[in-house]
């Protein structure tokens, strides 16, 4: 830690950023101080509107012209808030490297990867044009891209998502910058690819000794990567300190609440403790401490309401902006087996299941050429079987493109099944006509991932919730406006909001409207397609609790589709894991998370970042190679074999059957199914990075 003593690479003092528009200036960042030293990873966490991204844009000098900046940002001793355009340009190319969230939009689609990797260096005169190709190949090799010499002349669309993000990292590192700003670098990536990119980022950081600012909403990523953490809320840093202390003994109520509201892979199934209310919008921050309306410690004390707390010492190298930092409780330890599991009505599995899916197939034709001839099939879903009983939650997890959403939509009849059977409430609904399917849809409803896109923008919230009743001509029969008001109350919204339009609601409230709409017809099964994926962490817990309450009250069955293994673990009774259109493993929740037998499940579980820095380097991590293959041309045999650490010759020749695994309530599709054997070097587990 001797580096700490030296001059920091970046030092930000009293940074304020406000956006001036038509109305009054909107303060996005309100007095941020931070320092990053060489060889250090500073993690900045915060929800949307917390000012974390604006801070990073200010540091890189990329704020839009409507922003007004005050305060000081010194990079390597040079003040950049006053720097001219030319200095800033040189700084961005030489001293700072940037990695953004979406690698697809960061790369220019019309230039080769190689050219983009080196053009900055050539422009800054640090690389001769004739040496560019060699240098580009070297850079790609450094970020573990296979066949760098062949890849260097390819275009971004020929790279997969994870490879593009590696290329972006290579680009950011190309000039050996002293500071790297990574803004949500893995948010757009799948879990197994995220694991690869994170370990690459950590390795390159260690190799170059650069200072890194890692901005993310994911506490798991912070716990695995950061040395120091700054928690942002309402445009300010509310707590900062070493990563171990932030997680073990946080000194700000917001940090504690955030940690408590997280569903955890290593936690129990106890009810989550959401943070009440919404993160504040920068345009109307509450007076005093911005967090006080949602705070459990403030208890409406006058001091919290009236006076903005300053950041002050709460321990060695630990700062907290809370008047009552001493009263902040410890976050309860991982809730493993604390017996607080809510009482749930037992699921009766002896009766006929509510929903039975047998060998479902959804194949889309791939058409090409001017005659639109079919040249092949995209096997989005290729033989999925699952059952959902009344009152039960079945989680369907998998990475993007595995066919989980298509499965849900096929059950709903929104895409046509090309094979297999779907039975619902004792009736075969696979090939029902439009009219008959309409009747079935009364009892089966769908909740969409994106609450922004799934509500008709020109209808009022009340009209949206009433729409299913009107479509089925049941509006008056089911109680008219009184019924709508009851639905609003059921999902925790005030009926007085019925006249408002979707854009006047926050994300969490919109999702509640979507749920109320799905409940209007008193369905028996809800298909929930990533219902919390686009919500802020503190809001996720509210929606998860709401779903659990509704299930208990209404005996609903849920098919819960998600990519987030922690959320699925929290809410499900049984879990099915999908890979490339097939279910590879399915089991009771406990069994699946404790003793996964399929190698894909095992690596998926090991790849999830756990919000506990003490596990860093202790948890054994299986980093899968490569990415999900194109479902239009899946590998022969077992589709997982090219990435599998247990694959044998048999795997590439013969597709495994989906069979019960002896001794566990599990079914798995693997020739070599079996629990993970403790690694021979379990005492000294392999380093993550």
């Amino acid at each position: 830690m001797s580096a700490r003593m030296a001059e920091p690479v970046l030092s930000v003092r009293a940074l304020e950023v406000a956006f001036v528009g038509s109305g009054r200036p909107v303060p996005a960042v309100r007095g941020v101080d931070l320092e990053v030293h060489a060889n250090e990873v500073l993690g900045i966490v915060g929800e949307s509107g917390s000012g974390k991204s604006v801070t990073s844009l200010a540091i890189s000098g990329l704020l839009p012209p409507t922003a007004r900046v005050r305060g000081s940002i010194r990079l390597g001793g040079v003040e950049i808030t006053e720097a001219d355009h030319e200095t800033l340009r040189r700084m961005r190319g030489v001293d700072v490297g940037m990695v953004f969230q979406d690698p697809t939009t960061t790369l220019n689609p019309v230039f080769t990867i190689g050219r983009q990797l080196t053009e900055g260096q050539i422009a800054h005169g640090r690389l001769r044009a004739d040496a560019a190709r060699t240098r580009a190949i070297e850079l790609l090799r450094e970020v573990d891209i296979p066949d760098p010499a062949g890849r260097v002349i390819q275009y971004p669309h020929q790279f997969s998502g994870g490879m593009r993000q590696r290329a972006v990292i290579a680009m950011a590192m190309a000039g050996h910058p002293r500071l790297i700003i990574a803004d949500e670098p893995t948010t757009a990536l799948d879990v197994t690819v995220q694991a690869q990119v994170l370990s690459l980022l950590a390795r390159r950081q260690a190799e170059t000794g650069a200072a890194v600012i890692l901005i993310t909403h994911d506490l798991g990523v912070i716990a695995e990567m950061a040395h120091r953490v700054a928690v942002m809320y309402g445009g300010r840093i509310v707590e900062s300190g070493p990563v171990e202390q932030i997680f073990a003994r946080p000194r700000h109520p917001y940090t504690v609440a955030l940690l408590r509201s997280l569903p955890r892979l290593d936690g129990g199934a106890a009810r989550l403790e959401p943070i009440p209310g919404q993160p504040p919008a920068p345009a109307n921050l509450p007076p005093g401490c911005a967090f006080h309306p949602r705070c459990a410690v403030a208890r409406d004390r006058a001091r919290c309401r009236g006076e903005e707390p300053a950041l002050r010492a709460a321990g060695p190298a630990h700062l907290s902006a809370c008047h009552f930092a001493e009263e902040v409780p410890a976050p309860s330890a991982p809730r493993a087996g604390d017996g607080a599991e809510p009482v749930r009505p037992a699921v009766r599995r002896d009766s006929e299941p509510l929903l039975t899916v047998e060998n479902l197939q959804v194949h889309f034709p791939i058409k090409a050429g001017i005659l639109r001839r079919r040249v092949g099939w995209l096997r989005a879903v290729d033989g999925v079987s699952l059952t959902v009983h009344e009152g039960e939650t079945v989680g369907l997890v998998g990475e993007s493109g595995c066919g989980k959403t298509t499965t849900g939509r096929a059950v709903m009849g929104l895409v046509k099944a090309t094979g297999g059977r779907i039975r619902f409430a004792g009736r075969d609904i696979t090939s029902l006509g439009r009219g008959a399917m309409r009747q079935v849809r009364r009892h089966m409803q769908y909740v969409f991932q994106d609450p922004f896109a799934s509500l008709n923008p020109i209808k009022s919230a009340g009209e949206i919730v009433a729409e299913p009743l009107r479509i089925h001509g049941l509006y008056d029969e089911m109680g008219g406006v009184g019924r709508i008001a009851r639905l609003f109350e059921m999902v925790g919204l005030s009926p007085s909001m019925m006249g408002r339009f979707p854009h006047e609601f926050s994300g969490g409230q919109k999702q509640r409207i979507g749920i109320a709409r799905a409940l209007a017809l008193e369905p028996r099964l809800l298909i929930l397609d990533e219902p919390v994926a686009s919500l802020d962490v503190s809001i996720q817990a509210q929606i998860i609790n709401l779903l659990q309450d509704l299930q208990r009250e209404l005996r609903l069955a849920y098919l819960f589709i998600a990519h987030d293994l922690s959320v699925v673990r929290h809410i499900s009774d049984r879990v099915a894991v999908m890979y490339l259109g097939r279910i590879v493993e399915e089991s009771e929740k406990q069994a699946l998370y404790a003793t996964p037998v399929h190698p894909y499940t095992q690596s998926l579980l090991s790849a999830v970042p756990v919000p506990d820095p003490t596990l860093r380097g202790v948890r054994r991590r299986i980093v899968l190679e490569g990415e999900i293959p194109n479902p239009a041309s899946p590998p022969a045999g077992c589709t997982f074999h090219p990435r599998c650490f247990r694959a044998s010759a048999r795997c590439s020749a013969e597709a495994p059957a989906f069979l019960p695994y002896p001794g566990l309530p599990t079914r798995a599709a693997c020739h070599h199914a079996g629990p993970l054997v403790p690694a021979p070097d379990a005492k000294h587990p392999q380093e993550v990075a």
């Binding site: 956006f19 909107v26 996005a28 915060g46 929800e47 949307s48 509107g49 917390s50 000012g51 974390k52 991204s53 604006v54 844009l57 969230q101 803004d183 949500e184 948010t187 901005i215 909403h217 919008a281 920068p282 345009a283 709903m412 929104l414 439009r434 399917m437 309409r438 009747q439 849809r441 009364r442 409803q445 769908y446 969409f448 991932q449 994106d450 922004f452 896109a453 799934s454 509500l455 008709n456 923008p457 020109i458 729409e467 299913p468 479509i471 089925h472 339009f501 854009h503 926050s506 979507g514 709409r517 017809l521 686009s534 919500l535 802020d536 962490v537």
Partner: protein, 289 residues
């Protein structure tokens, strides 16, 4: 419909739109009130022909001593009615075609859009002349011709809008709720498609007014003595030396009207382009959870 009110507010907030709207509103008010105003476009005063502007005749008089301002105001009635009729025809036929083509896709889309392509190949003024040759000079001919040539633009704009909405979650949601195709089309997709269609209404209005004036200028528009801007331009050019204001003032009114409509259309289109600001006012921050 608070969102459309917000869009309207944004359009009105632009200076260019204010000027255009002020001009168009004046025109519409005068055209509507023309019968009750103390003006007569047909009253002849052969002793005062081809006079310049004066207190009695603000725009002067024509070759029969008729008040030019009265004729300009009544000419606005002709122009606006042609525009309204043409837009009604084009919208009534074009919007449903675009809606069906975009919503159902497949062979219905192919057949409908090829028909639209055929219409697109017809030049407006030639079509108008052909219709006039068949049914004779009348307002209906001009109106019909512009209406028919306007169908493709409405159909294409509606179709494009429907295609972009078709796969949006809230449209799929209605389908998942059990909504019929007609319900989804007319109650969900169409109400979300109005804004670009409205822009096209403004654009086509200006085309209609211009074409009507062109036909009248060629002498195959509305038969006299009904006042029409194009007709006045045509006669006025004969007397360009004796009474320059005769042709210039109606021409100026026509130009200002067309400019106003085009300006308004442009402002509306640019407001629509950044309308996402209205839908997601919180999008100020770059940080997505």
């Amino acid at each position: 419909m608070r969102r459309s009110r917000e869009l309207a507010r944004r359009v009105v907030a632009r200076g260019a739109a204010q000027v255009s709207l002020a001009w168009l509103a004046t025109l519409v008010v005068l055209a509507v009130l023309a019968p009750v105003l103390p003006i007569d476009p047909l009253a002849q005063d052969l002793l005062a022909e081809l006079e310049g502007p004066s207190a009695a005749h603000w725009f002067g008089t024509d070759e029969l001593g008729r008040d030019i301002m009265a004729r300009v105001i009544y000419g606005a009635r002709t122009s606006l009615m042609t525009a309204a009729g043409a837009v009604a025809i084009a919208g009534a036929v074009g919007v449903p075609i675009g809606l069906m083509a975009g919503f159902f896709g497949g062979w219905r889309d192919a057949v409908l859009m090829r028909l639209i392509d055929v219409l697109l190949a017809l030049p407006g003024i030639l079509l108008a002349m052909a219709i006039i040759a068949v049914v004779g000079r009348s307002q209906a001919a001009a109106l019909l011709a512009v209406g028919i040539t306007g169908i493709p633009s409405f159909a294409r704009i509606t179709r494009a809008q429907v295609l972009s909405l078709r796969k949006r979650d809230f449209v799929v949601a209605v389908e998942a709720l059990g909504g019929s195709a007609a319900y989804t089309m007319f109650r969900t997709v169409l109400p979300n498609s109005w804004s670009p269609i409205l822009v096209q209404v403004v654009v086509l209005s200006s085309v209609a007014i211009l074409l009507e004036a062109a036909l009248a200028f060629l002498g195959i528009g509305i038969p006299p003595p009904t006042p029409s801007w194009g007709e006045m331009l045509r006669t006025g050019k004969t007397y360009l030396y004796e009474a320059p204001t005769y042709a210039v003032l109606p021409g100026l009114v026509l130009t200002l009207t067309i400019l106003s409509l085009d300006m308004l259309g442009r402002v509306m289109a640019s407001v629509l382009e950044d309308r996402h600001e209205i839908e997601e006012p919180a999008a100020l921050q770059g940080g997505r959870p």
